[in-house]
């Protein structure tokens, strides 16, 4: 019990830090001269901060080093508690919003999923909108550090492939030896790219609020928008192009960005096996789907097909979830292929969700390895990714991950089916939640949202988002008896 309180102690500190996030909506409210909004957010900030301080003070006696076991607990409680406190302004401002829906919304923000239960986004106060998008951005920030610096310590996540013991140009020690420094460096990269994105979107024709909001959600690969019609509202090829570029940047490993910035050349991208495969797969799919749409006469002109295919494929494949047209109306192959990409295309250490390209590569090569072993029983063929040998225990851990991933998908889908959803809606809602993508198909498609779900179904999707975002193991491990045994 004492150790669990240590976790609460750390959590209290994190909540105090989190309360500073309210500064942005508070300032926004001031800029727009919205005094009620200003008070509401100030109140939320104070509540969060005092809850944090209280928690911190009460558990002061239990201050101490966290073990790896409690690292899991901290990560999970952090990712559940922060969205909980983030609901305060939503509940205060939007009349008639239930806690279920508010929590879904903030969880969707923090996990960079980007699915929403709100309609009339265009009429929400600017401070609320910026708060939603900031959650996307903060979620992205958190997940980068979690994926690059923390999860490998806990032994999860594809990134541990590049731990220091593997020689080569891409090893983790090429970052910095200390987690704190690594995190700071990655944040700087993330912050700078975000600023560039804001400037580019403003230049492309958005107003400041939209530019900041969309830059926040694009960098987090969240997919929140300030408009019900998502990016389709702007109907501007230039804006779509800018967003494509920044979504593609965000779907790559931020550690690679950092290395490239430090080396001042593009070599780190070439040496990153994930980056190459991800980009080729996504861009290839854009062209392929454009042809498919043009072939099926969905669009008369090829260039129109390419424009819409590119934006929506990149948006879904990177697990952002913007839409510029209602792609659910396309022949079923296209949206299903996009849902498939969202599960695999994101790099580890990016803000995207799903299985991650690193694990996909491991699985793919493992398949080849097994077949080679059948042909040559005495062959010694260690798995190599990017020229580096991947130890067998990591391969097993990836296989275990994949099994749990599919079991999670299957279980949640069945649960939703029991609750009365149709198959396509149930399956794609689960896919979109667990992969942190956003819109699904059917009644949760890009033209509608998750508002139509019952409370139970909403909670299931919320759970899916959390499990998916924290790489499955982290959440499920809390439900094993061994975790709680001494």
């Amino acid at each position: 019990m004492g150790r669990t309180l240590t976790v609460l102690h750390a959590l209290g500190l994190l909540l105090v830090m989190f309360s500073f996030a309210y500064v942005i909506p508070v300032v926004t409210a001031l800029i727009y001269g919205d005094f009620t909004m200003f008070l509401d957010f100030l109140l939320a900030m104070l509540w969060t901060a005092s809850a944090g301080i209280l928690m911190w003070m009460l558990t002061r006696r239990y201050k101490g080093e966290l073990s790896i076991r409690h690292g899991y607990l901290l990560v999970v409680t952090m990712w559940t508690a922060m969205p909980l406190f983030a609901t305060i302004p939503l509940l205060l401002v939007i009349p008639g919003l239930s806690l279920t829906d508010a929590y879904f919304e903030t969880m969707s923000g923090m996990t960079t999923t980007g699915s929403t239960v709100l309609t009339g986004l265009d009429y929400l106060p600017p401070a609320i909108n910026i708060w939603r998008h900031e959650l996307n951005w903060l979620g992205g920030l958190g997940i980068i550090v979690l994926a690059v610096a923390v999860l490998p310590l806990l032994g999860i996540g594809g990134r541990q492939l590049f731990k220091a013991e593997t020689p080569g140009p891409m090893k983790d020690s090429a970052l910095t030896p200390r987690i704190a420094d690594t995190a700071r460096n990655l944040w700087v990269v993330y912050f700078v790219i975000t600023l560039a994105c804001i400037a580019s979107l403003k230049w492309a024709g958005m107003d400041w609020l939209d530019a900041v909001c969309h830059a926040f959600s694009a960098m987090g690969l969240g997919g929140f928008s300030t408009h019900d019609a998502s990016v389709g509202y702007f109907n501007s090829p230039l804006i779509e192009f800018v967003m494509i570029v920044f979504m593609l940047l965000a779907v790559l490993n931020f550690a690679t960005h950092f290395l490239a910035v430090r080396a001042r050349n593009f070599a780190p991208y070439r040496h990153d096996p994930e980056a190459i495969t991800s980009l080729l797969l996504i861009l290839g799919s854009c062209v392929g789907i454009a042809f498919f749409l043009w072939w099926n006469s969905v669009y008369v002109e090829f260039w129109t097909a390419l424009r819409h295919a590119s934006f929506n494929v990149v948006s879904i494949a990177t697990s952002s979830g913007y839409a510029s047209v209602d792609y659910a109306q396309w022949p079923i192959f296209a949206p299903m292929w996009m849902m498939f990409l969202t599960a695999i295309a994101a790099s580890s250490g990016s803000t995207g969700g799903g299985i991650k390209m690193m694990r996909t590569l491991v699985l793919f090569k493992q398949g080849g390895r097994e077949m080679l072993r059948l042909l040559h029983p005495s062959v010694v063929n260690p798995m190599k990714i990017g020229g580096q040998v991947v130890p067998n225990n990591i391969v097993f851990s990836v296989l275990g991950f994949i099994f749990l991933y599919f079991m999670t998908l299957a279980t949640l889908t069945f649960v939703l089916l029991i609750s009365g959803l149709d198959f396509i809606t149930a399956l794609t809602a689960v896919l979109a939640s667990v992969n942190n993508c956003g819109p699904g198909l059917g009644s949760v498609g890009p033209a509608s949202n998750y508002q139509g779900l019952t409370d139970f179904q909403t909670w299931m999707c919320t759970l899916g988002m959390l499990i998916g975002r924290l790489e499955i193991f982290t959440v499920l491990i809390l439900f094993t008896p061994h975790f709680w045994r001494r």
Partner: protein, 457 residues
């Protein structure tokens, strides 16, 4: 010349053996007294037991008046330190080191006068790898040796019925393929040399040495025997230093399978090699060989450090249907035993690598030396200097030169061009002359012939 050899391993002892017969004063230093004693029993040289990188040992061995230091111990570091000491403490004029590690070889400044003062570095494994690579590239040849940075080659091939030249006099070559210039330097029939003349008739089973521009090798080979399909599949047994390098050199162009006994080494090899199929198993396991389709292998190389294993596994591979088998054999007695039998090529690593060392040791302007037929014969690349008055070579037609019997001039390299020698070719100053010597004892005479007379200075 006073020569000091550090290290009495395979390389050291072969070099010593080869240099002793050329009337040099030789001292061999090694930390293993037993090896030294064996060496001293056979050869007329001085030995000293001790660490070759210690100044006191070097001094005791007489480094002060040594003309040349050959540091060929197993350890790169000892060799480097010895060269450095010899240069800075004792002013030894020539220092040659054996360096294996690619890390050092990639950084040439390591060998410069400011650092380790190595005049020449040799890497036996690398030389051997290049040698085998050539044999795989030309599967019909028994030996392919390069001169003039690879522009000209000396090739050994066994003539077989089916080649157009077999059963015909050598002059037939000229009429049959007038556009390709080549010169047959020697023919060995049942082990004894024949001096080739225009009317010498080539017989089935003759071992023929010819010189040609490297681009023309294939067309000349075609005259001697029926050509095989070019090699595509290579199987290597033994993933040691040589096997690993060879696999690395070949894996881009050939399908390479590498069999290694040690599981740990297998994993290391598999991590390092990109396209090679690494198999864990015994190189003498015929079931494994069959399973991996030894019958479709074009070239089988047994490269472990165990002679007996190499012989057995190459015999098994030949039995199993491998087209050409190469065995690495250290003991020269074994080499003579198996070569020309079922094993197509028996490689003696020491003899392959010694040539490059000999080139530095020899007097006069010797650019390259290749040891042939396990050291019995030699091919030399010499530079001709002087003029008609001071030199006995320059300005003369080849048939005017007083070459000892058994030595032939095969080709001349003039200004980057390969000139195949004819009886009326005139040698000019600055030419690189490739001389083929059927008996090593004539080497001294040939070298003397190329030395400029005192009047030149």
């Amino acid at each position: 010349m006073k020569i000091m050899i550090l290290g009495a391993g395979q390389v050291g002892s072969t070099v010593a053996e080869s240099l002793v017969s050329e009337a040099n004063d030789i001292t061999v230093v090694d930390s293993d007294g037993v090896k030294l004693r064996q060496l001293q029993d056979r050869l007329d040289l001085r030995t000293l037991t001790g660490n070759a990188a210690h100044p006191s040992v070097l001094e005791q061995a007489g480094i002060a008046d040594t003309d040349m230091l050959l540091a060929v111990t197993q350890s790169d570091e000892v060799n480097l330190v010895a060269c450095k000491l010899a240069a800075s403490l004792y002013n030894t004029p020539t220092r040659i080191a054996r360096i294996r590690s690619i890390d050092y070889l990639n950084r040439e400044e390591v060998f410069s006068a400011d650092n380790f003062c190595v005049d020449f570095s040799i890497c036996p494994e690398q030389i051997l790898t290049e040698y085998i690579t050539k044999l795989i590239e030309f599967p019909e040849a028994l030996q392919v040796l390069e001169f003039a940075d690879g522009k000209a080659s000396l090739v050994a091939v066994r003539a077989f019925t089916g080649g157009p030249l077999v059963g015909k006099p050598l002059s037939f070559l000229r009429t049959h393929m007038p556009q390709v210039e080549t010169r047959v330097a020697a023919i060995f029939r049942q082990g004894s040399p024949i001096i080739p003349e225009g009317n010498t008739v080539v017989e089935d089973g003759d071992e023929i040495f010819f010189i040609a521009a490297t681009d023309n090798i294939r067309s000349v080979l075609k005259e001697m025997r029926r050509m095989d399909q070019p090699s595509r599949r290579v199987m290597i047994v033994g993933g040691g230093n040589i096997g690993r390098r060879l696999a690395k050199a070949l894996e881009q162009d050939y399908q390479v399978k590498l069999i290694e006994f040690n599981k740990k080494s297998c994993e290391k090899l598999a991590g390092e090699l990109k396209h090679t199929l690494v198999l864990n198993g015994d190189g003498t396991d015929e079931n494994l060989m069959q399973q991996e389709h030894v019958d479709e292998v074009d070239v089988f190389c047994a490269l472990t450090n165990d002679d007996e294993n190499n012989i057995m596994s190459s015999l098994l591979a030949k039995q199993g249907g491998a087209r050409k088998v190469i065995a690495l054999i250290n003991r020269s007695a074994y080499v003579d035993l198996v070569q020309g039998g079922k094993i197509d090529i028996a490689l003696s690593p020491a003899h392959v690598t010694i040539g490059s060392l000999l080139a530095y040791v020899r007097q006069g302007d010797v650019v390259a030396v290749h040891s042939l037929r396990r050291g019995a014969a030699e091919a030399l690349e010499l530079v001709a200097h002087g003029d008609r008055k001071s030199s006995r070579v320059v300005g003369r037609r080849i048939d005017e030169i007083d070459l000892p019997k058994g030595a032939t001039i095969g080709a001349i390299l003039r200004g980057g061009e390969v000139v195949i020698a004819h009886h009326d070719t005139v040698i000019e100053a600055g030419d690189h002359v490739i001389v083929f010597v059927v008996d090593k004892r004539m080497v001294k005479k040939v070298e003397k012939l190329f030395q400029v007379s005192v009047g030149f200075f």
